[in-house]
């Protein structure tokens, strides 16, 4: 098989090859490492490579495979967003603050994927502390979109999305606090799933907004995401907010059968912010699902327009506390020769954090301040409940809610950098899902002028299976998810 085919193969295909010993994990890892080393300079999607460890792990996987053992992910290479703590491998969170931070522990997700047999190739670039929708806030520089190097890949899991789209790995991890998996998945033409809050342990994931953060899989197909989600999920005694729910074999549940599935189309998601071309692609994808047996039902999520304001109070408020630990005392960046304690705090944090992170810490601190708490944080919590109730009511009559993942295709780098509010609008369709704690995914829905569009599918709490199966059906009926960018190994 030529390299370009390996680099675009699904996990199931790779696993068949590994099991049949037509390729070894070591060869696979070498192919992907070679691709990263050749093409990463153009993308800046990967910031740390673990070449030696990856080859060692691959050989161990080969040993298991040679005995005819292993599971669906044994020997499959993967990249982690640099928000997941990796023992002995620096974990930067895209920040100068943690430029040299080496955790002494693996995140639960990392440990689980390791236990499932995957081989970690390295760590992906990201918006600093996951705060951004374009991957331009990273201390390690902007990530480029392999579909158009002048465009952003989305964020904050932009490095992960771009790496996957460019064939750097068949699987990548992401985290999604307000759309950080789904929006870059949409902009890079891949499949990305944000699970139900609590489905995946947050232990060892550097916190942004604790009540919203959730890790999830990003891959070439719904089926690959399903394999990965099964391996990532489950209650964790180390995360009190992880859910005590049985973890199904998500991949085994994919049958593509959607006869009678009720798909809700929220009127509020097709508003003036939506690019008409994107709307047209979304409607086309929905008609295909209708043809496959689903019923499309117009619904209302009447408080959708409050989501951005609500999110931008709650997330920064939690972040302002979560990021207080970066004080230059125990780890992370410390300024040179502080004259006193206040100087140590002020300069370490001013030097260590970028502009967007500082902006959100200030916003969050303000929202929690004495005299403003009721007007901002408390009010936002109330609205959050109302937004969640919108979804609960809608799910009384539908099984899945569908709409765009993002209002537009990828935009030019720098286009929104000076306008934070315009940037925040990127997540207009994804934020509410985090506020309600629901699962959501983005699946490719075709191209506009050569740039990918994403269809978002939102499920009931802990019903990732239905949205994965819906996306799976669409991926059986279309080839949108197999179109590769004209980049690197895929160049025609």
């Amino acid at each position: 098989m030529p390299d370009s085919d390996v680099l675009s193969a699904s996990v199931s295909t790779l696993q068949r090859m590994l099991s049949a010993r037509t390729i070894s994990s070591e060869e696979l890892v070498n192919t992907y490492l070679g691709q990263i080393e050749a093409e990463n300079e153009a993308l800046n999607a990967v910031i740390t490579l673990c070449r030696e460890q990856a080859l060692t792990d691959a050989r161990a996987a080969d040993h298991i495979l040679s005995r005819g053992e292993g599971n669906p992910l044994t020997g499959i290479p993967l990249l982690h967003k640099d928000i997941f703590c990796t023992q002995g491998v620096r974990t930067t969170c895209g920040s100068h603050m943690l430029e040299t931070f080496e955790p002494a522990y693996d995140a639960t997700v990392v440990a689980k994927l390791k236990a499932a047999g995957t081989v970690t190739l390295g760590k992906c670039n990201m918006d600093e502390f996951a705060m951004g929708s374009s991957n331009e806030t990273s201390y390690f520089g902007a990530v480029k979109n392999p579909w158009d190097l002048n465009c952003v890949p989305g964020g904050s899991s932009g490095g992960s999305a771009a790496a996957l789209a460019a064939g750097f790995a068949p699987l990548v991890t992401g985290t999604d606090t307000g759309g950080s998996i789904r929006q870059p998945a949409s902009l890079c033409g891949i499949t990305g799933l944000k699970p139900t809050y609590g489905r995946v342990s947050r232990l060892g994931i550097i916190a942004f907004a604790s009540s919203l953060d959730q890790a999830g899989p990003m891959a070439r197909s719904a089926e690959d995401c399903a394999h990965m989600l099964t391996a990532m999920s489950g209650i964790d005694a180390g995360d009190s907010t992880s859910a005590d729910r049985a973890v199904p074999d998500f991949a085994a549940a994919l049958n593509g059968e959607i006869e009678g599935l009720r798909i809700g189309i929220p009127r509020e998601y097709f508003n003036e912010a939506l690019n008409p071309d994107v709307q047209e692609r979304i409607m086309a994808a929905l008609s295909l699902l209708e043809k496959a047996g689903a019923r499309l039902i117009d619904i209302d999520l009447p408080h959708t327009h409050y989501a951005i304001a609500t999110y931008y109070v709650i997330a920064p408020a939690e972040a302002s506390a979560n990021l207080a630990r970066y004080d230059g005392v125990r780890f992370g960046h410390r300024c040179d020769a502080p004259i006193d304690l206040e100087d140590l705090y002020l300069r370490s944090r001013s030097e260590g954090f970028g502009e967007e992170v500082q902006r959100r810490i200030l916003v969050g601190t303000y929202a929690l301040s004495s005299g403003f708490y009721d007007a901002y944080f408390n009010k936002a919590q109330q609205v959050r409940r109302i937004i969640a109730e919108d979804f609960h009511r809608a799910f009384e009559t539908v099984d899945v809610i569908a709409g765009p993942s993002a209002p537009n295709v990828a935009f030019q780098r720098g286009a929104k950098q000076q306008d934070p509010v315009a940037m925040y609008m990127e997540d207009i369709y994804t934020l509410a899902v985090n506020l309600a704690g629901l699962p959501g995914l983005s699946t490719p829905a075709g191209l506009i002028n050569g740039m990918p569009v994403g269809l978002q599918l939102i499920g009931k709490a802990f019903d990732e299976t239905t949205i994965l199966n819906t996306a799976h059906r669409l991926q059986q009926d279309t080839d949108w998810h197999t179109i590769r960018p004209n980049f690197g190994a895929f160049q025609s």
């Binding site: 939690e318 630990r325 780890f331």
Partner: protein, 483 residues
């Protein structure tokens, strides 16, 4: 001006749990710096808290112990402030919904009365670490062993009017929590730290004056002194027409003054909000009843029982009960010798004296309850006079054996044999004819005094072993027979 003192107390009680409130690190006192701090305690990126059930149970135990309402649904909050010994930049505490709600605690006062103190609330929180200023010459060290130790912060209404009341409350609280087994109450090691909110107002008025808060006072004696000096300070300011600044102060025991802490720390806006990393604590009736079933007899009930069952005075019972170990020691002694009043006297007298001089807690007494009971039994059956008993007590304290062994080996048995005593009396009368003549010539009142001379002579000759009652009786018979 005649000022009335108004005080409320906040006590930070370290709960006796095996591990920290949100991590698996040990909580032992005195370990090498930073040896009892894991990534959670250090606030490392990605680390999450997991609530220690033992801390919850201790808090509920406390709530039931003072008859307070238990919060059905309590919530942890983040209290945000920067300090080098606060690893996460926030302290996980309970602000909006505490685990223990309002209650009333009846404090026994030294005069035997009960002073009802209203408890506002008690909430769970994590302790901070410590800044160490005396190891490195020009730098400050941070020891995070204490970070994450479970604390119960117990807050009262402003119900105290005197330093004596405040100290009585703290002593009663100390007694209660050691009875409940939820804290070792060791003030020197910081297991019980007290913040005093204190203000003055013109006697007879209702409005509260501006208060100051004296932080982290860690002994009963210092609490009393700190209150006195702070009241004097406030009264001087008010008498001079000045105004009290609301601020946090520290008590300097060496200079016996209170000093203002940096005003910056007072001006903190803690920006409390619910801790999203922890679920609310939901406590149902079954849990409460299960904890209630484990409650031991509490000091008030024990005091009443000591009076009614053992016939002790209120005074003795009030002295024995506060120290749980002392009360248990007392009951163990009585179990063996069935003589409650002498047991109380020996424990509160000679034993406490010896323990205090040696600075030993009663639970580590070199003299066991059984040994003390053995001694008391020998007094009760007349084997030992009280004078001999003290010798035996001293020998037992030295570890020379049980009362019977010491009596045997030293031949300390009281001489109660009438024949032997009569011989001694006869010898003394024969040897002292002048004194006998004086006695015979004296009137009733003087005779009593003069008989002491003969008792002293016989005690000297018998090395104190003569049974004093019997001796007295025989001596008087003989002397009276001379006249």
């Amino acid at each position: 001006m005649n000022w009335e003192i108004v005080m409320g107390l906040e006590v930070h009680l370290q709960l006796a749990t095996q591990s920290k409130i949100f991590s698996g690190s040990a909580t032992q006192f005195g370990a090498e710096p930073n040896c009892q701090a894991d990534p959670v305690d250090l606030g490392m990126p990605g680390m999450l808290p997991v609530l220690n059930e033992e801390a919850v149970r201790h808090a509920v135990t406390f709530g039931l112990g003072i008859g307070a309402k238990i919060g059905e649904r309590s919530v942890f909050d983040r209290k945000n402030y920067f300090y080098p010994d606060l690893p996460k930049g926030y302290q996980v505490s309970q602000f909006f919904a505490p685990i223990v709600c309002e209650g009333v605690f009846d404090v026994p006062m030294p005069d035997g009365s009960l002073l009802p103190i209203r408890i506002t609330r008690a909430h769970l929180e994590e302790d901070a670490g410590k800044s160490v200023h005396d190891i490195f010459p020009r730098e400050t060290g941070i020891d995070l062993n204490r970070a994450g130790t479970p604390l119960l912060e117990i807050v009262t209404e402003p119900d105290f009017r005197t330093a004596e009341q405040a100290v009585a409350y703290l002593k009663a609280l100390h007694s209660l929590v050691t009875y409940l087994g939820i804290s070792d109450g060791n003030m020197a090691e910081g297991s019980m730290r007290c913040d005093i909110n204190i203000s003055l107002r013109e006697r007879g008025t209702d409005a509260l004056g501006t208060r100051t808060e004296i932080k982290n006072v860690n002994s009963f004696r210092f609490v009393e002194r700190a209150i006195h000096v702070e009241c004097e300070r406030q009264a001087d300011i008010l008498d001079g027409g000045g105004r009290i600044t609301q601020e946090t102060r520290l008590y300097d025991a060496e200079q016996n003054v209170t000093r203002s802490m940096r005003s910056k720390e007072v001006a903190n806006d803690y920006r409390y909000f619910p801790e999203p990393d922890l679920l609310p604590i939901e406590i149902d009736a079954d849990y409460i009843e299960a904890v209630r079933a484990t409650l031991p007899e509490l000091p008030g009930a024990k005091r009443d029982r000591f009076v009614s069952d053992y016939g002790l005075s209120e005074y003795d019972a009030t002295l024995l009960v506060p120290n749980h170990s002392m009360a248990s020691f007392f009951e163990a002694v009585v179990d063996h010798c069935h003589a409650a009043k002498p047991a109380a006297n020996w424990i509160l007298g000679d034993l406490s004296g010896a323990l205090n001089r040696a600075d030993i807690a009663i639970e580590h007494s070199p003299l066991s309850a059984q040994q003390l009971a053995g001694l008391i039994s020998r007094i009760e059956d007349g084997t030992l006079s009280s004078k001999l008993a003290k010798q035996v007590f001293d020998a037992m304290w030295e570890g020379l054996g049980d009362a019977d062994e010491i009596i045997e080996s030293r031949g300390l048995k009281q001489v109660s044999d009438a024949g032997a005593l009569e011989t001694m009396v006869a010898e003394v009368i024969t040897a002292n004819p002048d004194q006998v003549a004086q006695y015979v010539a004296a009137d009733e009142a003087k005779r009593k005094k003069l008989s002491g001379f003969f008792v002293g002579q016989i005690m000297k000759a018998s090395q104190g072993q003569a049974n004093p009652q019997l001796l007295n009786q025989l001596l008087l018979e003989k002397l009276d027979a001379q006249s």
